[in-house]
């Protein structure tokens, strides 16, 4: 089966530090794929390479059969790679619904006229629908800069979904969330349509094992192991890596 997204021999160095070394990754259509590993393993760097905010020294990124290595973040997003960030990135002075509406616009613009106002109604309806499904309708008119951390994270996920992605890159979506919010996040991710593939970077292993069908483990910028959640959970190599990472 062909990969929807494939990363081949990705290497990133920051000076003398090798953040990633020859990392390969394949995410299939509709797959829930997690990347885990101790702090400093290179998980976020890998996500940044896939989202085009970090340029690798070596390696190729292909999406839907095309080489997208030279494309920037906006072009990759228009092709269907949408993402969230480790620190939730929202437009602070815009209201919650405007945030999602802005994120939805590129998709609606392509389908309709380009002139301002021509597609805003479509984007607004999409944003309102997403807010409703995420249980955030009460926050629609609140400026995003006034939201709590967990609420911002949910809004950013809604923004990523508003772009109608084929691949959703989530960078530690459960970080800083309360137990209730993590439950809500798990519910949200489980409810995603199967045609949307998800690549999840996460420390919250219960969430990873509950949602994902494939797990890749990174350590010191290299792939340590890859397999099903059960294989990874019982792998002595992975246990050792986490034990070393904690010590």
């Amino acid at each position: 089966m062909n990969c929807l997204l494939s990363a081949e021999k990705i290497s990133v160095r920051y000076g003398s530090l090798a953040a990633l070394t020859d990392v390969d990754l394949c995410v299939h259509d509709g797959q829930r794929h997690a990347v885990i590993g101790p702090n400093g393993a290179g998980k976020t760097t890998l996500l940044n390479v896939l989202g085009a905010t970090t340029r690798p020294q070596r390696g190729t990124v292909r999406f839907a059969g095309r080489d997208v290595s030279r494309l920037g973040p906006a072009a990759r997003a228009r092709r269907g790679i949408n993402r969230t960030h480790q620190r939730p990135a929202v437009f602070a002075t815009l209201t919650t619904i405007e945030n999602i509406e802005v994120a939805a616009l590129p998709r609606t613009i392509r389908r309709r006229r380009w002139w301002p106002g021509g597609t805003r109604g479509t984007a607004r309806r999409l944003a309102a629908g997403l807010l409703d499904q995420l249980g955030l309708s009460d926050l629609a008119t609140v400026p995003a800069g006034h939201l709590a951390h967990g609420q911002r994270r949910q809004v950013e996920i809604a923004m990523a979904l508003a772009g109608r992605p084929r691949l959703l890159l989530l960078d530690e979506p459960a970080a800083g969330l309360s137990a209730t919010e993590v439950d809500r996040l798990a519910e949200l991710l489980a409810a995603l349509p199967r045609e949307v593939a998800v690549l999840l970077v996460e420390h919250h292993l219960d969430l990873v094992y509950a949602l994902c069908d494939t797990v890749t483990v990174l350590r010191d910028g290299r792939t340590l192991a890859a397999g099903t959640p059960d294989e990874i959970r019982t792998s002595p190599l992975v246990r050792q890596a986490y034990a070393d990472g904690m010590s």
Binding site: G51, T53, G72, P73, A74, A75, A77, R78, N82, R83, H85, A89, V90, F91, A92, T93, L94, E98, N99, E101, V102, A103, L105, P106, R107, P116, T119, R120, A123, G129, L130, Q133, G135, L136, D138, L139, T141, P143, H146, A148, Q151, M159, L161, A162, G163, R164, P165, T180, D183, R184, A186, E187, L188, A190, A191, L192, P193, V196, A210, L211
Partner: protein, 338 residues
């Protein structure tokens, strides 16, 4: 509710501005017309600085391009004011478009430096291109305009003021309407977090280019109004002093507020031109004090007074609680529609 109050205030202010020529003398009407022209450039500065997040000290360049295009080219083409405004706007937009490759890739203080350099270069060119611009002596004896075909020539300061007011009100209204379309949220989103906007698939450079050219056109149109209001132009009208006053006016009025830019320009001109007579030699000092007081006491500008302590944030309702925690073993979860 707030929108209605703002609309009511704007209507009252506009009505007041319409009756002003019958209340004040010719000199005051002429100053008010110049203030309106400068206020329109302030609107272009607010559009770039406050809305799009590109601080600028160079809007005097398209302002000058519009003024000279209106005085030199426009008067050759037609004596109709609307035609001259269009020619001036085109000149301002063209100059802005030419400088796009320098400005759009830059950010923050670098933009300020580049735009300052462009403004200074424009003044230098105006001062040296004597055959067209009259050099540092400027251009005098500019042909009076008629607002539209078939209307009489604007012969009095009151008439010139009313014409300037009509053009400024029309253009400011157009800008406000444009910002209520998706253009407004897109520009503000780029100002808040450019990387996030790119990550959503938006062509941020294209939006900034559009904002820069539009701001150039507005400043150019303001240049045409200056020619009408003053009937004389020289490079001194477009020097660094003017750039600094414009930015000062926008900061005082509230950087993200289009109406605030007009109010800020009015305050700055009032202090500079009227206090000059009352406190000779001390106007810059008063202006500086006004700026410092505004930054400390009203950081969002005089038109956006902060809400009282404790009421600055709207109440945030708690999100609805989830029904249950999903696990792989539970039944099928309903699909999210995206």
């Amino acid at each position: 509710m707030i929108r209605r109050v703002r609309l009511a205030v704007a209507t009252v202010v506009l009505a007041g501005l319409v009756v002003v020529p019958w209340v004040v003398d010719d000199y005051t009407a002429a100053i008010l017309a110049r203030t309106l022209a400068l206020g329109l450039v302030g609107v272009s500065v607010a559009l770039l600085t406050g809305v799009a997040g590109m601080p600028t000290l160079g809007q005097t360049a398209p302002y000058a391009a519009g003024a000279y295009a209106s005085a030199v080219l426009g008067s050759q083409v037609s004596d109709v004011g609307v035609v001259q405004v269009a020619v001036a706007a085109l000149a301002g937009a063209t100059l802005a478009a030419v400088t796009l490759p320098l400005i759009v890739p830059a950010r923050g203080v670098i933009v300020l430096m580049i735009t300052l350099a462009i403004g200074e270069l424009a003044v230098t060119v105006l001062g040296r291109w004597r055959s067209v611009t009259g050099g540092t002596d400027g251009l005098a004896g500019i042909t009076p305009v008629r607002p539209l075909w078939g209307l009489p020539v604007l012969a009095t300061d009151q008439a010139r003021y009313l014409y300037t007011l009509a053009v400024v009100a029309t253009l400011v209204g157009a800008v406000l309407l444009l910002l209520r379309t998706r253009v407004g949220p897109l520009l503000r989103a780029g100002r808040d977090d450019e990387m996030r906007l790119r990550a959503s698939g938006h062509r941020v450079g294209l939006y900034l280019s559009g904002a820069h050219v539009a701001a150039g056109a507005i400043a150019g149109a303001a240049g045409s109004l200056l020619v009408v209001a003053q009937q004389y132009i020289s490079p001194a009208d477009f020097g660094f002093d003017t750039s600094a006053l414009l930015l000062l006016g926008v900061v005082i009025g509230g950087t993200a507020s289009i109406g605030g830019a007009l109010v800020g320009a009015a305050l700055v001109i009032a202090v500079r031109d009227w206090l000059f007579g009352v406190l000779p030699g001390h106007a810059p000092l008063v202006l500086g004090a006004l700026f410092v007081a505004t930054v400390y006491l009203l950081p969002t500008g005089v038109t956006r007074v902060r809400r009282p302590r404790g009421g600055s944030r709207p109440p945030i309702p708690a999100p609805r609680q989830p029904a249950a925690t999903p696990t792989r073993d539970r039944g099928p979860t309903p699909e999210l529609r995206v």
